[in-house]
């Protein structure tokens, strides 16, 4: 049987299924024969894991064996304990193991300590009261046991340095004794006294001494001794030396020790062995943090390592270079890195090196020109491996300039970027991310300096869209870039004549399966049909850095609400005043345990109280969708919400649950935002994130172009800081404040544009055409018209017409997509028009744009629902009920955010 089990273990190691034999291994450990028992233990430790079902059959035997007289049985059981005892079964064996700490045999004591260490790793709470045992064992008579104790102590000290400071003296004296060969001869290894214990002790001292001058001073003598005594001819001697260097670089710096460390490093670097060179480079990387001048004398050695055929050594050297990059040497280092990046195939490492290049380039770029060229190279060679954020950062950089007030420098930068991109476009097979950047830059700045004609740029863009015809995201970027260029042309008063290939491309896209592409194509068509003034306001040139402000308070609705109330509508009851719901919402808040979330939600509900609102027009509802919810399921829900109010009331009641779903999830999401002030940018970023992740999620990716530049503005605070520190300009904040007043108009735009949209949605719902959720998002193109304008009223008038045009175009596109009958279509246009006029009334009272997205959306939806439903109370009750029935915000949302935002 024993032989069979060993064969079985072997068979499993070779990769075959041996699970049928597990039970026999378990049976074997019950055997009396030591040989069989040990084999059984060996087999179970290799077969089973701590959560396996069979463990329950083993625990009893382990308990019995731990009490055995035969220390070999105890040892075998302890081996199994280390591997097989899980958190739940720790208490079952813990008392026996603690007893074993005082076992006469040192082998048993050692293993018992290891078992306790293992328990500590698995669940530190279960053995926290036993930590003092480790300290006691440190004074064990047997050096082997003492050495074993160092392992758990190392872990303990890593987690909590301060409570072990008192042990510094003991450790130092132990180390001293070891170094002075006070241990039995048997512990010598290659003429080194107990090197493994020395290494462990040095590691512990490094932890204890880091940034603690007093503790470090105790160590100086002994570390200096070891430096002197170490025999650098043997492998293990060098291991101890290396550990000394690590220790010296970690503790409070001492000049003398640093010198001997530098000596040791130079010996490492000069040696022929690759292993020692590797260790030398690694040690240099550690020491360089403390005394950067050391690197100078080893320059040549480092360069040699860089040329070495050994991959590991090369990588380590790049790591070192990365650490020692300064603005003076960044060009050389990054060039080297890129060269190396091109030469390897390992995607994991390629990604790492690319991100390091980007980081260094962002940090130390000597000139903008160089930066852009470097980024181009990185994208070209590792484009698909680079984080999309980097691409957006680059676009932002180009858009914003470098923060200096010097406009000419910025435009120079842009034109040089455009030029280099036009050049690069000639090369075959570029990564998608890079193409997106190219398209965006060409669209935004291709014609800005007048060097290239619009037709040349558009021709290039069409080429891109054709050459990469299976990449929807790139095509989408290209189409939008085309639209921008045409818009700039029209705005500049030049006549636009579309290239034939562009025409054919558009034809193709108009019939595209991707709703996103189709939408963009229709937008392009619509924009081309407009006059210069309208186009200028829709797509102002070089407005990519402007901020779009968001009216979180939905104040533009106030008038309308007032009006409705005067007509006798029910005022909105804030959630907090509704009984029954309060507890639930509180409960939810606890779930999210974010204090700021309270503030956010309350704000959303308190505002309507001031104005006591009631019915909300579908138009305003639609406006909540300005920022699409990134989760795939959300759009659907939210669209239904917007649709329902204008449909019959019974539909509203049947849809109640679903709608709440959407509402609650939105709330849930919202609560994760740290504060209201940041919520806009965050949500926008989310949009950004999702579009990056999933280009086919058209509903969301639609907004990408619109907000692209803005998103660049809002990428991430660290990056901003980085850029700011790089280029020293507070341009961002200035821009923000400057554009604050400009955004009054876009809001009117948005709401208006949503009027047709929502009615359209209603229509599609009525006809019960199974539309994909993406289609419902059509109203948004006009959102693009975030144009700076000083007088919202004047512009409103001017824009009224274009908007209708666009909206009709939108409607048209939807018909095309869904193939609805024309008479229904007529119906919609009517509704559209009606809603339209109403809205324009409301809108004239606007002061801020309505991007309150979720918060506002939920409020209005609630109200709309309660007033539209058959019975207000009824629906409120239902609302509460539905909330209780586990329609809680999905708890994975925070993770999702983390994922998306990095």
């Amino acid at each position: 049987m024993k032989e069979y089990i060993i064969r079985l273990v072997y068979v499993e190691m070779l990769g075959h299924d041996a699970s049928f034999g597990y039970i026999h291994a378990v049976k074997m450990i019950h055997d009396d024969s030591l040989l069989v028992k040990r084999t059984g233990y060996l087999a179970v430790t290799l077969f089973l894991n701590e959560d396996h079902d069979l463990i329950i059959l083993i625990v009893n035997t382990i308990q019995k064996d731990l009490k055995s007289d035969n220390y070999l049985v105890v040892c075998a059981a302890l081996n199994a304990v280390c591997k097989l005892i899980n958190e739940e079964t720790i208490p079952a064996v813990l008392p026996q193991i603690v007893e074993l700490l005082a076992h006469p045999k040192e082998a048993v004591r050692k293993k018992a300590i290891m078992a306790l260490h293992r328990f500590y790793q698995k669940s530190s709470s279960s053995v926290s009261h036993l930590v003092s045992n480790f300290r006691k064992r440190l004074c064990d008579n047997d050096p082997g046991v003492m050495g074993a104790t160092l392992c758990p102590l190392f872990d303990l000290i890593t987690n909590d340095v301060n409570s072990y400071k008192d042990l510094v003296i003991s450790f130092v004296s132990i180390l001293k004794q070891v170094a002075e060969r006070r241990l039995p001869k048997a512990y010598d290894y290659h003429q080194m006294p107990a090197p493994f214990i020395q290494i462990k002790l040095l590691k512990i001292l490094a932890l204890l001494g880091s940034s603690d001058k007093q503790a470090s001073e105790n160590m100086y003598t002994v570390v200096g001794d070891i430096f002197r005594k170490c025999d650098s001819s043997s492998n293990i001697g060098n291991a101890v030396l290396y550990e000394c260097i690590c220790c010296v670089s970690s503790i409070y710096p001492n000049h003398k020790l640093l010198e001997s460390a530098a000596d040791a490093i130079s010996r490492f670097l000069k040696s022929d062995s690759h292993n020692l060179k590797y260790m030398g480079i690694d040690a240099l990387g550690r020491l360089i943090k403390i005394s950067p001048e050391i690197a100078e004398q080893h320059q040549l050695a480092v360069i040699d390592c860089l040329e070495d055929p050994d991959d590991t050594l090369k990588r380590k050297t790049f790591e070192l270079l990365y650490k020692m990059t300064k603005s003076t040497n960044v060009e050389v280092i990054v060039d080297r890195m890129i060269d190396y990046m091109n030469s390897i195939n390992d995607n994991h490492y390629k990604t790492e090196i690319a991100s390091r290049c980007v980081e260094l380039a962002e940090q130390f770029a000597p000139s903008n020109q160089w930066f852009i060229q470097t980024m181009n190279k990185v994208f070209e060679h590792a484009g698909d491996l680079v984080n999309i954020k980097v691409a957006h950062n680059l676009m932002r950089l180009i858009a914003e300039g470098f923060g200096e007030d010097d406009d000419t420098a910025d435009s120079q930068l842009r034109s040089s970027a455009v030029e280099s991109y036009l050049h690069i476009l000639g090369e075959p097979k570029l990564p998608s991310v890079f193409l997106q950047v190219i398209c965006w830059v060409l669209g935004e700045y291709g014609t800005a300096d007048g060097k290239y004609s619009a037709s040349y740029i558009t021709g290039k863009l069409c080429d891109v869209a054709e050459a990469y015809s299976n990449d929807e995201t790139v095509k989408a970027y290209a189409v939008t870039a085309l639209m921008k260029i045409y818009a700039f042309e029209i705005a500049a008063g030049r006549k636009v004549d579309m290239l034939p290939e562009c025409h054919s491309l558009m034809e193709e896209f108009l019939a595209s399966h991707s709703t996103d592409l189709q939408q963009r194509a229709y937008e392009l068509q619509a924009v081309i049909g407009l006059d210069a003034h309208a186009v200028e306001s829709i797509l102002p040139s070089d407005a990519s850095c402007e901020d779009i402000e968001v009216d979180k308070a939905l104040s533009f609705l106030n008038d309308y609400i007032q009006e409705s109330i005067e007509k006798g509508a029910q005022p909105y009851i804030p959630e907090s005043e509704r009984t029954g719901m309060l507890n639930i919402s509180n409960f939810r808040n606890q779930d999210h345990h974010e204090a700021s979330s309270h503030g956010l939600r309350f704000e959303a509900y308190e505002l309507p109280k001031q104005t006591v609102q009631a019915r909300i027009p579908p138009a305003s509802l639609a406006s909540t969708e300005l920022v699409p919810v990134p989760e795939a399921m959300y759009p659907r829900e939210s669209y239904q919400t917007t649709t329902v109010p204008s449909v019959s009331s019974d539909a509203a009641s049947t849809e109640l649950k679903l709608r709440l779903d959407g509402v609650q999830k939105r709330w849930g999401r919202q609560t994760h935002f740290p504060s209201t002030s940041t919520s806009n940018s965050t949500s926008l970023k989310t949009v950004n994130g999702i579009t990056q992740v999933d280009g086919s999620n058209t509903a969301n990716s639609r907004t990408r172009e619109t907000y692209d530049s803005r998103k660049q503005v809002e990428i991430s605070p660290e990056k901003q800081k980085l850029a700011a520190s790089l280029f020293g300009g507070p341009s961002k904040t200035e821009k923000k404040s400057a554009t604050g007043h400009k955004s009054s108009k876009p809001s009117s735009h948005m709401v208006k544009s949503h009027a047709p949209k929502s009615s359209m949605e209603v229509a599609s719902e009525k006809t019960s055409v199974q539309q994909p959720p993406d289609l419902l998002d059509f109203g948004e193109p006009t959102v693009k018209s975030t144009a700076p304008s000083l007088d919202p009223f004047k512009d409103l008038e001017g824009l009224l017409e274009p908007t209708t045009q666009v909206s009709s175009a939108v409607n048209h596109s939807s018909t095309a997509a869904v193939t609805k009958s024309p008479d229904i279509m007529g119906l919609y246009t009517e509704t559209t028009a009606g809603a339209h006029h109403k809205d324009s009334d409301i809108l004239s009272g606007l002061s801020k744009p309505p991007m309150t997205n979720m918060v506002g959306g939920t409020t209005t939806m609630q109200v709309a629902q309660s007033s539209k439903g058959p019975n207000l109370k009824d629906s409120l009750e239902k609302d509460a009920l539905v909330r209780q029935i586990g329609v809680t915000p999905s708890s994975q949302n925070p993770n999702l955010f983390k994922d998306i935002l990095g």
């Binding site: 990769g15 009396d32 060996l42 070999l72 074993a148 392992c151 290894y189 493994f196 292993n275 055929p309």
Partner: protein, 167 residues
């Protein structure tokens, strides 16, 4: 801590694999294959260290050594010294096994599978280096085999008889 010890031959066949954190069998196989892929792509006379993050996840290094037809591989995290791990391989591969088998070869490992595991258990326990004196290791192993032999002799007849009867 040490994450895994592997011994494989130059054809990539695993001869010994011990993972100190549980991994499902398929995952183990995949790791062994990938490690072998990295090992055979390395030229002669280069360092014995490999950054293994792409195989084993963050914070993992790999040290290997090549004896005769066998690769000895140790995978560990940053709390261990790489040179020391190289010596550990030396200790396991050259000193202890040499003492055990006299002129160790691949077949010795295949046929003395449980003995190798016993030795390994003496050196490494729960991912920590426990014992580095090869004399001590040998003594423990010999003691075990002696005792095993003794108990085996005593229990041999009744054991086989009982199993024979129970059939």
């Amino acid at each position: 801590m040490i994450k895994a010890v592997m011994v494989m031959n130059t054809q990539g066949k695993p001869r010994l694999a011990k993972f100190f954190d549980y991994l499902p069998v398929e995952k183990q196989q995949e790791l062994i294959r990938r490690v072998f892929g990295v090992l055979c792509s390395r030229p002669e006379n280069v360092s014995n260290f490999i950054e293994a993050e792409s195989i084993f996840g963050p914070d993992s290094r790999l040290v290997y050594n090549h004896f005769a037809t066998l690769y000895f591989v140790v995978v560990f995290d940053s709390s261990e010294n790489q040179l020391a791990m190289l010596d550990l391989i030396q200790l396991l591969g050259q000193q202890t096994l040499e003492r055990c088998f006299k002129n160790v070869c691949e077949l010795d490992i295949v046929f003395n599978y449980s003995k190798i595991h016993t030795i390994l258990d003496e050196i490494i326990l729960g991912g920590q280096v426990l014992e580095t004196r090869s004399t001590e290791i040998m003594r423990a192993v010999e003691e075990i085999s002696k005792l095993e032999a003794a108990t085996n002799a005593i229990s041999f007849i009744p054991k086989s008889a009982s199993s024979w009867l129970s059939r």
